[in-house]
């Protein structure tokens, strides 16, 4: 099975360049320990919602964009960001939730997409050409446009008959 997803979107490339230019890379690295609570193993960086990390005096300011407007995971993610930074001795942490730039699945990293596939969630595809995460077949059908969370819909493979979650392209 080919788990390598190498397509780098322009949206991700610009996030990556921004992160690489940061003068405080260690803080970004700390946040690589914060995961989406509904998608175990997928970091907020790989999901694409971590937008900025900055430091002012002794306070850390973290900026995230929510995925779906009603996604209840945001509150948990804020707490997790704070907890992780506290662990590394940062006493003052502020998490800002901003709507602009609006999050899209194109902000997701190739690593994030590969991870989704490894836990049998089909990663988002432009044109919603959904590929079965088990047998790679493109011969799939929608079972339900909404799945277990706002960001997913339910599909089934017509070849291997596996039912699976698809992370909607958004």
């Amino acid at each position: 099975m080919n788990d390598v997803i190498s397509i780098v979107t322009p949206e991700f490339a610009s996030r990556k360049a921004y992160r690489n230019a940061s003068v405080i890379p260690a803080l970004w690295d700390i946040l690589d320990n914060v995961f989406d609570p509904e998608l175990p193993g997928l970091t907020i960086w790989d999901l694409g919602i971590l937008q900025d990390v900055s430091e002012k005096n002794d306070a850390v300011l973290v900026t995230v964009t929510p995925t779906y407007s009603g996604c209840p995971a945001v509150d948990t993610i804020i707490t997790d960001i704070e907890t992780e930074l506290f662990k590394f001795g940062h006493k003052k942490v502020e998490v800002k939730v901003t709507l602009s730039p609006a999050w899209t699945t194109d902000m997701m990293s190739p690593t994030g997409k590969a991870h989704l596939k490894s836990i049998q969630i089909a990663p988002p595809e432009k044109n919603d050409r959904v590929c079965c995460p088990v047998c790679e077949s493109e011969n799939t059908k929608v079972l339900s446009q909404f799945g277990s969370t706002s960001c997913k819909s339910l599909y089934q493979c017509n070849d291997c008959f596996e039912a699976f979650d698809y992370f909607k392209h958004f």
Binding site: G70, F146, L154
Partner: protein
């Protein structure tokens, strides 16, 4: 605070009310929908609308100078203080009615929010950008349902027609503007809903014609929502939605 700021807050709360009221109605299907996937879908859409309401309320609260919270707005106002357009508050009725209303609103919001993305207010534009994508996705679901029901059994067809007959009286209000809303249109903050009416009508009419359904052009336009005048249904809905905050003030999860 000047008139423009006051009207902007009123405008945001109106949009938030539209969303929170519809969200509550949709959530009434939770555990009652025809089958599991449909149940999950309606609850998910309800969640999108709750998120939308929160974004509008939070911004209103910020403009007010944080004198109250988003929860105060949702839970501690009575029906005369709610300013949603009436179509959102009508009871869910049967599944056909819920889907026809959803289809009507999805068509409406796809266009309305698209224009609101160009609002001169950056935060309103950001909210619209987020919400319009969700509405487009909702439309992909409500539209096929109308076809399926309208071209289904004689009973499903009849129920769709009953829903159309009931809803026609509430469609007019979607395109009527209050004077204070028009002031915001002049300053580029709001969108004139009146301008959407012709396109909405032709799109919906053409779509319904394909399934040989007709949407009668009603002369009756029940209005009042934006000024706090509601159908009898809203008060009953709020009494349920606000029950916990009213009986145990300040309770938090």
């Amino acid at each position: 605070m000047n008139d423009k700021q006051q009207n902007t807050i009123r405008f945001l709360i109106g949009l938030g009310d539209d969303s929170v009221v519809l969200s509550h109605r949709l959530s009434e299907w939770c555990s009652n929908a025809p089958y599991l996937e449909e149940d999950i879908a309606l609850s998910n859409i309800a969640l999108d609308y709750i998120g939308r309401a929160r974004m509008f309320y939070q911004y209103a609260v910020e403009l007010e100078g944080n004198k109250r919270t988003e929860d105060d707005i949702a839970y501690l106002r009575n029906e005369r203080q709610y300013t949603n357009l009436l179509i959102h508050e009508l009871p869910i009725n049967d599944f056909a009615f819920t889907m026809v209303r959803q289809y009507f609103l999805d068509v409406f919001y796809c266009e309305y929010l698209k224009l609101l993305c160009d609002s001169s207010d950056e935060q309103i534009s950001a909210i619209a950008n987020k919400a319009v994508k969700e509405s487009r996705y909702h439309l992909k679901r409500s539209q096929p349902w109308i076809t399926q029901l309208a071209e289904g059994t004689s009973e499903s067809k009849e129920r769709i027609q009953l829903a159309l007959d009931e809803l026609e009286n509430f469609v007019g209000e979607m395109f009527l503007m209050e004077d204070w809303e028009l002031m915001l249109v002049d300053s580029g903050i709001a969108v004139d809903r009146k301008n959407l009416e012709a396109n909405w009508n032709s799109e919906v009419q053409a779509f319904l014609n394909k399934s040989e359904m007709c949407f009668p052009d009603s002369q009756l336009q029940i209005r009042g929502g934006r000024n706090g005048i509601h159908t009898e249904h809203l008060g009953h809905m709020l009494s349920e939605m606000q029950y916990i905050q009213r009986s145990m003030p300040g309770l938090e999860w």
